[in-house]
């Protein structure tokens, strides 16, 4: 065995794949660990073979990018230039090693350098009734459609804000699903504010407007959401006020919710990255330089680093790979063009954030009886009571109020919970309420798997 440095890439979406490609171009053999069955990530997710459909059907205007990305990764693996562990979740990072839960149990993987391309999940805000079965994230609606060719209900209401709202709505309609309403909490005034930055990528903006035109009167901007009315089976209607303040009610049996994205950052934290509160995205993001250097030997890329979408993920993945090579003293291809392209993409992303903002006031005014934490049934009133006791600190509120303690480990409640804690303390920004500290395992693991002897696996030797 040579002294070839062991680089592990976590995540096989656009960022992870481009990082692996950059690393392989210098002769390294990165190990790519991913939770998915097949590489591609969420956005370019590949359905199981039995459900395969033409790329144009699955990925629309992005089909060319999806096909190129999949081909790149499949080739790297086939040629032995990268190694792929699918269906593997990284549970913890410590001392230059990862604890990985795969189909055969838990193993320990050593690394010299680590590239984190962990992506993002939907950013959620609590709505009364959202803990009912039949309420899903917008991302879930899209996964169901793309990977399973199903709609998650017979009459669907989509609500929230951000590019995914319009995209999922048009994809569902095109596939033959029945939509009752598409409710955007962003007003047209908000959207105009984003326009100057959005025009850095005019073709994308035009495509978004065309999609919106296809939704016609289903699409409602400037909506104030009321509640999801439910019975024992699930949702029966969504109540809302339109932009003129008129009360409305949309009957449905399924609801998709989402307010753009929340970066998946637990591993970056465990790997020692520092965090800053980003006011634009209204969330804590790991600190890193323009190339994605996060901590000693740790590189960040994709939406888990900065929410710049799929094109930004490919660029930042390549840059993170280059940064890693540079730090190892290996030859690097030119990065100037990628850096310039990434700064354009970043500006567009800022426009998106401005045009489709986090519904700060709605979250701050969440009624006391509304569930904030779906896992544990913690209500906004309980969060406020915990904040009153523990001071305006999310970690105290967590230990007192259990918000962020559930199965999802706060993924779907911590941003809203922090907003409510901050509001209760009279803070303008959740930054003043502190950041919820993460802990391993970042995915629930069977107790037996954690307690069992961890087999040390050398990524260059241990084959699967």
């Amino acid at each position: 065995m040579t002294a070839r440095p062991q680089v592990v890439v976590v995540g096989a979406g656009p960022a992870g794949i481009r990082a692996a490609e950059a690393l392989a171009s210098a002769g390294l053999v990165p190990l790519v660990i991913d939770e998915g069955e097949r590489a591609g990530g969420q956005i370019y997710r590949r359905p199981p073979d039995a459900l395969s459909r033409p790329p144009a059907v699955l990925y629309g205007s992005e089909a060319g990018k999806a096909v190129a990305l999949h081909a790149t990764f499949d080739r790297l693996v086939a040629q032995g230039r990268a190694r792929h562990w699918p269906r593997c979740a990284v549970l913890a990072v410590a001392e230059r090693s990862l604890q990985v839960l795969g189909p055969e149990g838990v193993s320990t993987v050593r690394f010299d350098r680590l590239v984190l391309a962990t992506g993002a999940t939907d950013r959620l805000a609590p709505v009364q009734g959202w803990d009912s079965p039949g309420v899903y994230s917008l991302g879930a609606m899209q996964v169901a459609l793309k990977a399973q060719a199903v709609a998650l209900g017979r009459r669907i209401v989509l609500a929230g804000s951000g590019p995914l709202l319009t995209l999922v709505a048009t994809q569902l309609l095109a596939a033959g699903a029945r939509l009752e309403a598409v409710l955007d909490t962003a007003s047209l005034a908000d959207q105009l504010r984003g326009l100057p930055d959005l025009m850095t990528r005019p073709s994308l903006t035009v495509r978004g407007l065309a999609m919106r035109a296809r939704l016609a009167r289903l699409y409602r901007p400037g909506v104030r959401l009321g509640a999801i009315e439910t019975d024992a089976r699930g949702p029966v209607a969504v109540t809302w006020h339109d932009a003129w303040g008129r009360p409305r009610r949309s009957p449905c049996d399924a609801v998709g919710l989402g307010w753009h994205l929340r970066a998946e950052t637990q591993l970056a934290e465990l790997a020692g990255c520092a965090f800053d509160f980003d006011e634009t995205w209204r969330q804590w993001l790991p600190r890193g330089d323009a190339m994605g250097r996060g901590a000693e030997g740790v590189y960040l890329a994709g939406d888990g680093f900065r929410l710049r979408g799929a094109d930004g993920a490919e660029l930042s993945g390549r840059l993170a790979g280059a940064a890693c090579l540079e730090d190892l003293g290996l030859p690097v291809q030119r990065t100037a063009a990628d850096l310039a392209a990434l700064s354009r993409v970043s500006r567009f992303a800022q426009g998106i954030a401005r045009a489709f903002p986090w519904p700060r006031d709605m979250v701050r005014q969440t009624p006391d009886g509304t569930v904030v934490c779906r896992c544990e049934g913690v209500t906004a009133g309980m969060v406020r009571a915990a904040a009153a006791h523990g001071g305006a600190d999310v970690n105290r509120a967590k230990s007192l109020g259990r918000v962020g303690m559930g199965r999802c480990q706060g993924r779907y409640c911590q941003i809203a919970g922090a907003e409510i804690v901050a509001a209760a303390a009279g803070h303008a920004s959740p930054a003043q309420a502190g950041r919820l500290r993460g802990q391993a395992p970042v995915r629930p693991a069977p107790v037996a798997a954690i307690a069992g002897p961890a087999a040390a696996v050398d990524p260059l030797q241990g084959d699967r």
Partner: protein
């Protein structure tokens, strides 16, 4: 598609009807699924929830479909719990919406 249980289901199949059918059971009752389905799709095609009965939790039908929320755990008559959104259905699976010990 003529399974009477399907009207109780939540999901609507929009494409991919021509796949290989396979059989599984949910709480002891036989149902059909299609190869390529996840456990979540297969179960929600014939039932409104993946899990129920726990008064504190209520009924659960998944939330994220990408392995992040852990809302979709189910039990099997034998063997480990499984995460329905990221487990492919297999012929002969015997799934439960409640822990095995819970059965009368």
């Amino acid at each position: 598609m003529d399974n009477p249980g399907e009207s109780r289901g939540r999901v609507v199949r929009l494409a991919g009807h021509g796949r290989e059918p396979l059989a599984f059971t949910l709480d002891g009752i036989a149902h059909g699924a299609l190869s390529g389905d996840t456990v979540l799709t297969a179960v929600l095609a014939v039932a409104p929830a993946l899990r129920g009965g726990d008064p504190r939790e209520g009924n659960r039908a998944g939330f994220c479909l990408m392995g992040a929320c852990q809302d979709c755990w189910m039990w099997q008559e034998q063997g480990p719990r499984l995460r329905a959104c990221s487990t492919p259905i297999a012929a002969g699976m015997r799934l439960l919406t409640r822990p095995p010990g819970d059965w009368p």
